[in-house]
Subunit: 458 residues, 2 copies
Amino acid sequence: MQANVNPNNSPVPVPAPGRPKVLIIGCGFGGLEAARALKDAAVDITLIDRANHHLFQPLLYQVATAGLAAPSISAPIRNLFRNQPNVTVLLAEAVGIDVAARSVALADGTALPYDHLIVAAGAGHGYFGNDGWAAYAPGLKTLDDAFRIRRRVLLAFEAAEREPDPVARKALLTFVVIGAGPTGVEMAGTLSEIAQHTLPGEFRHIDPSSAQVLLVEGGPRVLATFPENLSEKARLQLVHLGVDVRLKTRVTNIDREGLNVDAGEGGSYRIPSRCMVWAAGVAASPLARLLGEATGTPIDRAGRIAVASDLSLPGHPEISVIGDMAAARSHVPGQEPKPVPGVSPGAKQMGRAAAANLLRRLGGRPTEDFRYADYGNLATVGRRAAVVDLAAPWGPLRFSGTGAWLFWLFAHIYFLIGFRNRIGVLFDWATAYFHFQRPARIVTGVQHPAPGGRGPKN
Amino acid sequence: MQANVNPNNSPVPVPAPGRPKVLIIGCGFGGLEAARALKDAAVDITLIDRANHHLFQPLLYQVATAGLAAPSISAPIRNLFRNQPNVTVLLAEAVGIDVAARSVALADGTALPYDHLIVAAGAGHGYFGNDGWAAYAPGLKTLDDAFRIRRRVLLAFEAAEREPDPVARKALLTFVVIGAGPTGVEMAGTLSEIAQHTLPGEFRHIDPSSAQVLLVEGGPRVLATFPENLSEKARLQLVHLGVDVRLKTRVTNIDREGLNVDAGEGGSYRIPSRCMVWAAGVAASPLARLLGEATGTPIDRAGRIAVASDLSLPGHPEISVIGDMAAARSHVPGQEPKPVPGVSPGAKQMGRAAAANLLRRLGGRPTEDFRYADYGNLATVGRRAAVVDLAAPWGPLRFSGTGAWLFWLFAHIYFLIGFRNRIGVLFDWATAYFHFQRPARIVTGVQHPAPGGRGPKN
C-alpha cells in the first residue's frame, strides 16, 4: 500500500516506519498459509491476488460438473484476514518483479516496494506449446474455468436434444477428458455419472446414457503418481463407471470439432467431440520465468523455478518462491533431496516454511532447509470409488473402493475452509448421493445463435 | 420439436399424430404453472426458454448482494419436468411469432409450429427510452444481471481501498439504487447492511461503513403499491438501516461517473457514483409488441399487450399471453375489471387460468374470464425489517418490523422450488443473520486493468 496511498488522504494510519514490509503474491494454499504463519510477527504484510477469494481447488471439478455452487468452495480473502491486522489485502495483478529495486509492478501501473517477498502465484494450464488448443479444450484452474466447462457440458446435451443429424449428435454426446491425473480422473468419472444417472429421463429425443466419456492419457496408466496397483484399481473403477479409458494415447491436434490422437501400435485416429476438457499439463505463472531471467536461475519444463534448499531465490534471500511455481526439493538429512509433489499439502508446508525462514532472517538466525512431510496421496474416481495411499505415521496403507471414497470425502470436508462451506458441501453431497441430482445445474452467460440479431427475451 | 427432428433419426418415438401441439414460450412463474397445469392433458407440450433454469426471481437481489449462491434460487427446467412425459423442454430463444401460419421462429432460424400457444416471455428492464443508461446502471432480471451487480458492488469497495484521491474514493463508496419498488428497496437495504455490518474490519485504508447508499425515487413514496402508512413504515426502516432515501427525485441523466437528478423544489444536482443499480422500470418482452403489431392489439407504456378477458389475444383464441407481458385485468362479476399487479402470484394464477381455458377449448367448452385472487402483498427492507399487507381470507391485516420480516422469510422459503434449495437458503440466511456474513461474496469474470497487456497469473 506504500506506493499508491497518499498519507495526507489515507483514512487510516500509515504503517509505522521501520516495520519490515512483507509482500505476498497469490492467495492459494501457499500464500494463505504463509500470511497466516506471520500472524504474530511485527511485520506489515500486503497480500495481493487477482481474485477476491481463496479457492479450494481440489473441489473445483465439482463446480465444473454442477455438483457444488461456487461459493461453497470459495472464501473471500479479506474475510479470512479480518482478524489479522498486520495483513492488508489488495485485489491486484502482479506483472513484474524488480529484484534490484525490491518492488513489484502491478497491472495498473503502480509499484509496491517490499523488504521481503513471497511469490506464490501458482500455475495455469500448459498446452505444450499448442496454446491454440485452449479455445477448444479449456483447462480447470479458476471459477471462471469451471463455469465455462459447466456451460459446455450442459449445453452439449441441450444441443444434442435438438440435433437431427445422428453423426453430429454423436459428436455432441462425446465428452473427452485429456490427461488422467487426479483432475482428469475426477472429471471423467463425474461426467459419466451425469450421463448415466443424473440426466436420463429428462430428455425426449436423446438418451443421455448413450453419451460416451473418454479419458485420453499419453502415459501407460492413470494417476501416475500413485503405486501401480492403485492406478490399475482406479482404471477398473473408471471402466465400471462407464468411462472409456484410452492409455498410451497421445493428443496430436485439437480443433473445434474434435481431436486427433496417436495411439502408437493402435494407430492414429480422430475422435469427433464437441466438448473436450484439458487436464494434461500445468505451466507455472510467468512470474517464475521473469524471476529466472532476472537472476539467471534455471526454469524447468513446467516453467517452475529452481529454488534453493530453503525455498529462497538463489542470491536473493529476501525472496521465497513456493507452491506450484517452485521446483522445490525435500531435504532429509542423510538422504538424497527429493522433488516435492505438486499437491496442496506441499504448497501449504512451503508457505509455513517460507514464513518461518523469514522470521529466522528477521531474528538474525540462519534459515532451514525445506522438508516435505508426506502423509500420503488420495484421489477420487466417482461414486463410491477412490484410491488412498497413506504414508507414515498412519501407513503404509493402500486401499480403494467405498472405504477410500469415504476417507476422501471426509478428508476434503475437513480441509475445506470455513464452517458454513463444510456443512453446505456435505448437504449437497448427500443430495447428490441419494438423489443422483447435481444442485448447481445452471447455465449462465449463454449466447444464443441469432441470425437476425439479438432476439427478444423468452 | 416438430420442425427440427428428422423422424428417421430421432431416437424416441415421434409424437402421435392428432395430439394437439401446445407451445409455451418462457418458463418463469407463468409458463411453469401453465405447463404443470397441463400435466394430465392429452397434448404434446414444448416448453422453450432462453435459460436452462427456472429462476425464483423474488430472491434474485440476494444473489446480487452475495447472500445466496445462484443454484439456491435456480432449478433446471428439465429436472422440473422429468416426470411429466408430455413436456419437451428446449433451450431456445423465440424471436418471432407468425400468427397466421401458427409457428414460432427461433433465433437459430428454425420454426416451431403450434396448435395452441402460451406466451409467457416476461419483461426486461425499461429505461424510458434511455437505453444508453443500461451500461452504467444495470437492472436485475437474470442471474447474469445479478453477477454483474455483485461484481460491481464488491469491486467498488476493492477499488476504494486502493484509491488515494478522497473525491474519487467517495464516488466509489456511493451506491445509488434508482427506483423504490420492492426490488429497489431490498437492494438499498441490503447494500446498507453490507456496508454497515459485513465489511467493516476487513479493509485497512477505508471504513466501509462510511459508504453511502442512496435510494432515488421519482414518486412521493417508496413501495407505491402498498398502503400509504406501510410505505412510510418502510421508509423509516430504510432510514434506520442507514439508507439515504430521496423521494420526488427524478433521474435526468446517467453516465459512467454518476447521475443527474431533478428534485423539483430541491433543485437539480449531480450525484457522483461508480455503482448504480436500476430498479425503476420494466419493459415487456419485445414479443408483446410483435404480437400487437401483427394483430392490431394495443400495447401499453410498459410494452404489455391488452389481452382479452380470458387472457387470449383478441381474435386469436389459440394464443394466450400471460405474466409480465400481459396488461391483464381481474374480472369479478358485478365489479369494474381491475388491473392485475405484476407480482409472481399474478403470473402463476394467469398460467393456471390459461391452461384451464386451453383445456376448455379442447373440450369444446367456453373459456372463462380471468379472476385474480389477491392474498396481499409483502416486501422486505432488510434485517428484521419488512412490511406485510394481507388481504382476505387472512386479512385485512397490516404489519411491519420483525414479525413482518419473519413472515416474509418463511413465505419465500415456502414458495422456493425444490427441497434442497429451501434448506440451503435457510442455512445461508441463518449464517447471514447471526454472523453478518454474506456466503456468496465471490467475484468472477474480473478484468484487471493492464496497460502492458495481459499479465501473469497471481
